[in-house]
């Protein structure tokens, strides 16, 4: 009796889990389905639930017209800014943790920078970038994403670095390393998984950004979210392009979740637990 009860409860849970999962995945499925549909299928009534075949025409159009370039723009700005933010953020976090630089205040000031809404700073930044003549350039977006992600990187890496035993570093100092070498040969390897998780998130933030890119790019370095919103016209929307380009923007995230789920879960929960 008891056994049956447990079995039934397990199945009930699995059933619930499937329903919930369906709710979360269906919209993405729908997006993907649209990207493979022909124009007739997209604008059929009642809607076509499953496209008749994998029709890559919508993607082909994006590449043919050079509009897929926006994905490359997103990739360049997101990845290079991630590298910069990780580098400067990690060494700064190390300084905060090991040498208590600036006491508590500096750390709090840095994290508080992240709470300022982008909409509030974007106009002055725009003016600044106009003055420097880096609007609509990779440089501009990279600088901005780096700055915007730095507080996050510092905050997260602070947590990871705190977990590294101090004696490891001291041992390396006695063994003959300079402080700089200790940072590279001991701290970085020890914080490897933290570095990785943080970098993944930093990349995601930059990859998904819309507001900064909307204002700081015009034609040369338009990123994919800006491009996607451009397809929604007042009257008719280019649904096929919305579907295809959005899917191109989602695919890396599906890949990230598929291969690095552990880091994502850890990154999200660490942010709150340590914050």
């Amino acid at each position: 009796m008891k056994q049956w009860d447990q079995g039934a409860r397990l199945w009930a849970r699995v059933f619930c889990a499937m329903i919930v999962t369906l709710f979360f995945v269906f919209p993405i499925y729908w997006l993907g389905a649209i990207s493979f549909k022909t124009a007739e299928e997209i604008f059929a009534y009642p809607p076509v639930w499953i496209p008749a075949n994998f029709n890559f025409h919508n993607y082909f159009v994006l590449f043919r017209d050079g509009e897929a370039w926006s994905i490359w723009n997103s990739f360049v700005t997101a990845s290079i800014s991630t590298l910069f933010a990780m580098f400067f953020g990690t060494i700064a976090a190390y300084s905060l943790v090991r040498y208590k630089t600036g006491g508590n205040h500096l750390g709090i000031w840095i994290i508080s920078q992240r709470m300022i809404p982008p909409i509030c700073v974007v106009f002055p930044v725009f003016l600044l970038f106009v003055a420097w003549d880096i609007v609509d350039t990779y440089t501009g977006l990279i600088v901005l994403y780096t700055a915007f992600n730095l507080p996050y990187v510092i905050w997260m890496m602070r947590g990871y670095i705190q977990e590294i035993p101090l004696e490891l570093e001291q041992s390396a100092l006695v063994d003959g390393l300079t402080r700089w070498a200790v940072l590279w040969k001991v701290v970085m390897p020890m914080a490897k998984s933290g570095l990785f998780a943080t970098a993944v998130f930093t990349f995601i933030f930059a990859w998904n950004d819309f507001l900064f890119a909307l204002i700081l790019s015009r034609s040369d370095v338009v990123t994919f979210p800006v491009k996607v919103t451009g397809y929604f016209g007042a009257q008719s929307s280019l649904w096929s392009k919305v579907g295809a380009l959005s899917m191109l923007g989602v695919l890396p995230m599906i890949f990230v979740v598929g291969t690095m789920q552990r880091f994502i879960v850890r990154g999200i929960s660490m942010g709150a637990v340590k914050g």
């Binding site: 001291q170 041992s171 100092l173 063994d175 003959g176």
Partner: protein
């Protein structure tokens, strides 16, 4: 090989005076143990020698050069840490080689040194493994191996055995001592465990509150403690202390419960002024005899057999006393024993200052 000279070293943490004007001379090749209760400044001193802490005042000299202002890497010192501080992402081989690589030794040289150390420490089979795959004792050996491969002038140990279980600790203690004999290098070793201090040291430096209480060979400290603190710190079970009254021109004394012991015939007889003293008696100074003359009458309160010996505790007035008896000297609690006291081996202290009375 250079000697180590610690010269009037002071260390402040803010207002806290952790090390107070401390001087020690360590001749080359000596095994010195810094021991004391937690917070006594022993670790601070050791870390100052390593260069992990800056000293506030004074000097540390190794051979003929002052190392007080050098970076740790320039001091040519090796150190074994309490947590072993093995790099989890490096193999045992690379862990041991770490210091040599930092000093840009050639691969051949590294291999030679690692092989030598791993053979000495019997860890040759684990070289390819990673620290997480090793037991506590094996990790300890790797940590020591990492220290000895470098031809350091001075070896520092920061409570290296405190993370091991009791059995392993005994074994490692012996090995460290053997290692010292083999290497012939200067060892400075910090521990809070008086047994480690006693068994390992050529000389013990007993610290309290940043000040040296006594410095000397282990048995010196054990048998001729300078004060109550030293007497109480060394030895297990700890020395029994009781308040006694010496009378009749130093030939007799009254115990806390009123029993009288004659001092006649002892070294101390007649050489000690009448008055109140703190008397220090180690448990092994009390032994059961059948006679009753000039003995301490004890009603056994609690018995703790350890197999080879049995600890019998009893009270003299309010004073709790532990005696170390033969295994079968006493069979049950409540028995009345007559204990002879090896008075010549006991110590008398001034109850005011705690200093030992030299007779």
């Amino acid at each position: 090989m250079p000697n180590l000279k610690i010269d009037n070293v002071n260390k402040f943490y803010g207002d806290v005076h952790a090390v107070k004007d401390l001087s020690i001379d360590v001749p080359a090749g000596e095994f010195v143990v810094l021991v004391g209760p937690s917070g006594c400044g022993k670790s601070t001193l050791l870390r100052s020698i390593a260069g992990l802490e800056e000293i506030s005042d004074g000097d540390i000299v190794l051979g003929d050069r002052s190392i007080a202002n050098l970076a740790p890497r320039d001091r040519n010192i090796a150190m074994v840490f309490q947590s072993y501080a093995l790099y989890p992402y490096l193999s045992v081989y690379e862990n041991i080689a770490f210091g040599l690589r930092a000093r840009k030794a050639s691969d051949d040289e590294i291999k030679k040194q690692v092989d030598w150390a791993s053979e000495l420490l019997d860890i040759g089979d684990y070289l390819k493994r990673f620290p997480r795959e090793l037991s506590g004792g094996q990790r300890q050996r790797v940590a020591i191996g990492r220290a000895i491969v470098r031809n350091a002038d001075l070896f520092l140990f920061d409570e290296p055995l405190s993370n091991l279980d009791a059995k392993l600790r005994d074994g490692m203690r012996e090995e460290i001592k053997r290692l010292h004999t083999k290497l012939g290098k200067t060892f400075v070793y910090v521990t809070h465990d008086q047994i480690e201090a006693m068994t390992l040291a050529d000389r013990i430096v007993l610290l309290r509150d940043g000040v040296i209480e006594q410095i000397g060979a282990p048995l010196d400290l054990f048998e001729r403690p300078k004060n109550i603190f030293v007497a109480g710190f060394l030895g297990s079970p700890p020395m029994n202390f009781m308040d006694v009254d010496v009378t009749e021109h130093g030939t007799s004394m009254a115990l806390p419960d009123g029993q009288i012991l004659s001092l006649a015939g002892t070294k101390i007889s007649g050489k000690i002024k009448d008055g109140a003293y703190t008397w220090g008696v180690r448990s092994e100074h009390l032994s059961k005899i059948t006679e009753t003359k000039n003995t301490v009458r004890a009603v056994i309160d609690v018995l703790q057999p350890t197999g080879s010996r049995t600890y019998g505790t009893f009270f003299l007035g309010d004073c709790h006393v532990v005696s170390e008896l033969e295994a079968h000297d006493v069979s049950k609690e409540g028995e009345i024993l007559h204990l002879a006291v090896a008075i010549d081996r006991t110590s008398f202290f001034d109850p005011e200052t705690g200093s030992a009375i030299n007779s």
